[in-house]
């Protein structure tokens, strides 16, 4: 059985990727999970400089999901290269770095630093964080902004680049198209849905930032729809995520059109989820007689349903 998938020039040994912000820098899990057994890990979002992020409380649980406003706390690109990358290389991890910026120049500068470093496999451009004031989603909510960030980064790196799209737009597929036209190797989606939870006793928001991003199983059907729309709109691979809790959910995204999938919130619930996901996908492939996982991608049948009784 062949579980390998391709994202541009990058080959992953399997389609299971740890989502940004849900797996630290990967090193936190190195003693618990064989990092080399994951398709890839995406790091916490990194700017040029270190950032402290928002005040706590930063998360609140919601029905079948959670809201977060971390505010992109991070150690900055250079310290990541010095302090985290060597261990990730030793552990055999395939490392995708989630790159942030408040300006187009910052995206390009961070990407350049990472391209010069040994051991970065790809860049995921975070143009979709709903939790910070400048940068991020402001590019991701404008077609021109998306095009400009991707073009600027395209000029400074040979690494595969994968803009991460926000679901907080009306027509997500047009953002996938703008990314493709600007030279992206893939797109990933979805980032979290901008949301709010209020404590009715105190009449205050339950997280310090007020607004936050919704993730987890609650968002899955919308995320699957958006991944499918992007799959139909572009030729480059689409990496899907949003509420994947088990192998069935991962398969659903792949059938909708995802070449690979990312797992975020589920990793909090079950840090040992990875082997369960692989086993579940293998089991499914066996039952449905697939030899390559790529054969599954985009196979959803959207035509008229034939009635099993023939009536």
């Amino acid at each position: 059985m062949d579980l390998s998938v391709r994202i541009g020039s990058l080959t992953l040994t399997n389609p299971l990727v740890a989502a940004s912000g849900c797996f630290g820098y990967g090193v936190e899990y190195a003693d618990l999970v064989d990092l080399s057994s994951l398709g890839a890990i995406v790091t916490k979002g990194l700017f040029l400089e270190a950032r402290e992020g928002h005040r706590a409380p930063r998360i609140v649980e919601t029905p079948a999901g959670m809201l977060n406003a971390i505010g992109l706390q991070g150690i900055g690109a250079r310290r990541f290269v010095e302090d985290k990358l060597p261990e990730l290389r030793t552990r055999g991890a395939t490392v995708i770095v989630n790159v942030c910026g408040t300006t187009i120049d910052e995206y390009a500068e961070v990407s350049r630093i990472l391209s010069d470093a040994e051991g970065v496999a790809a860049i995921e451009l975070n143009i979709s964080c709903p939790n910070i004031k400048e940068g991020g989603i402001q590019f991701g909510c404008s077609l021109d902004g998306t095009f400009d960030v991707v073009s600027a980064v395209r000029k400074v790196t040979r690494l595969p680049i994968m803009p991460k799209l926000t679901p907080n737009v009306t027509d997500v597929a047009s953002f996938a198209r703008a990314s493709e036209q600007a030279g992206a190797d893939a797109v990933s989606l979805v980032n979290t849905f901008l949301a709010m939870v209020i404590d009715v006793e105190t009449r205050r928001p339950k997280i310090a930032n007020g607004l936050g991003g919704l993730s987890g199983p609650a968002i899955r059907p919308i995320a699957v729809r958006m991944v499918h729309e992007c799959y139909e709109a572009v030729k480059i691979p689409v990496v899907g995520m949003g509420g994947i809790m088990n192998a069935r959910d991962a398969l659903e995204f792949m059938i909708a059109g995802a070449a690979a999938v990312q797992i975020g919130t589920a990793n909090f619930v079950d840090p040992l989820i990875w082997t369960k996901l692989t086993d579940g996908i293998r089991d499914y492939m066996q039952r449905h007689q697939f030899t390559r996982v790529t054969e599954l991608v985009g196979t959803v049948q959207t035509g008229p349903v034939e009635s099993p009784t023939g009536a």
Partner: protein, 270 residues
């Protein structure tokens, strides 16, 4: 290395209308846990409630031969997950992941140990008292709650030879008021050259007051903080605490991996 255990509920002891002690079969976690560490518990399978909750390891439970067989949690029902854990029955299983986090520094015999607990903040002190007892450290528990009915396990601590200083907000047992008052008086009376270690766990306001009071008398103090946690592994950056750095500013540390036990004098109390 933490273990993920589908732990059978061995017993559920109701202490009051809100508090219970839940005994879980988890030998691997019990054998590895040190005082101050925690476990991440998922009260129900399925997506709702979704996330695990952090709990201090309350007691390490031993079998007839003295080998670690399980652990207990001191639970107070305040939301959906703690409600489920309040209602759990023997035969149920809960997912239990741990031990996690940085433990207390266990004082040695040259020092006295004062543990300061507020409400459910008693949780990490049963195992700490055990460890201190094993080192023959003279130990005092300062323990405050709303009323007599919410002061638990007093005989447990007495049996370990721990001196008790109790306060209740309604005066139904011990001194009326908050626990910081007797702590402050005792600190004032304590010989300055006699080594002393203060440990605290409880509501944020109590921790801040305890930190300030210990600092005023120049005493080292470790606090076990309680933050809303997502993962317990350092993956999500939810449970941060602002700590002073050497540049006169602060740094957000993840209390799940840098803590939950942190040096009180380095925390930037709000």
């Amino acid at each position: 290395m933490p273990f993920d255990v589908a732990a059978d509920v061995m017993a559920n002891t109701r202490l009051s209308a809100d508090y219970n002690v839940l005994a879980l079969s988890a030998p691997a976690i019990a054998a590895a846990a040190t005082p101050g560490q925690f476990v991440m518990v998922k009260a129900a399978s399925g997506d709702d409630p979704l996330l695990r909750r952090p709990f201090s390891v309350f007691e390490v439970l031993r079998d007839a031969a003295g080998a670690p067989a399980g652990l207990s949690l001191l639970n107070k029902r305040i939301g959906p997950s703690t409600e489920l854990l309040y209602r759990a029955q023997p035969g149920d299983t809960v997912a239990c992941f741990g031990p996690l986090g940085r433990p207390f520094t266990v004082a040695d015999r040259s020092a006295q140990a004062w543990m300061v607990a507020g409400g459910v903040g008693l949780a990490p002190f049963a195992t700490l008292a055990d460890a201190l007892g094993a080192r023959s450290v003279s130990t005092t528990l300062f323990y405050g709650a709303r009323s007599r009915a919410e002061l638990f396990y007093l005989d447990f601590f007495r049996r370990l030879g721990v001196e008790l200083v109790l306060t209740t907000e309604d005066g139904s047992l011990g001194e009326r008021g908050r626990i910081i008052a007797p702590l402050d008086r005792r600190l004032a009376a304590h010989a300055p050259h006699a080594p002393l270690m203060v440990y605290a766990c409880g509501p944020e306001g109590m921790l801040a007051a305890c930190a300030k009071t210990a600092a005023r008398y120049g005493r080292p103090c470790e606090v076990s903080v309680e933050r809303i946690m997502g993962c317990g592994m350092g993956g999500c950056y939810s449970c941060v605490v602002p700590m002073r750095n050497d540049r006169g500013s602060f740094h957000h540390v993840r209390s799940c991996i840098a803590g939950p036990v942190l040096p009180a004098d380095q925390i930037l109390w709000e």
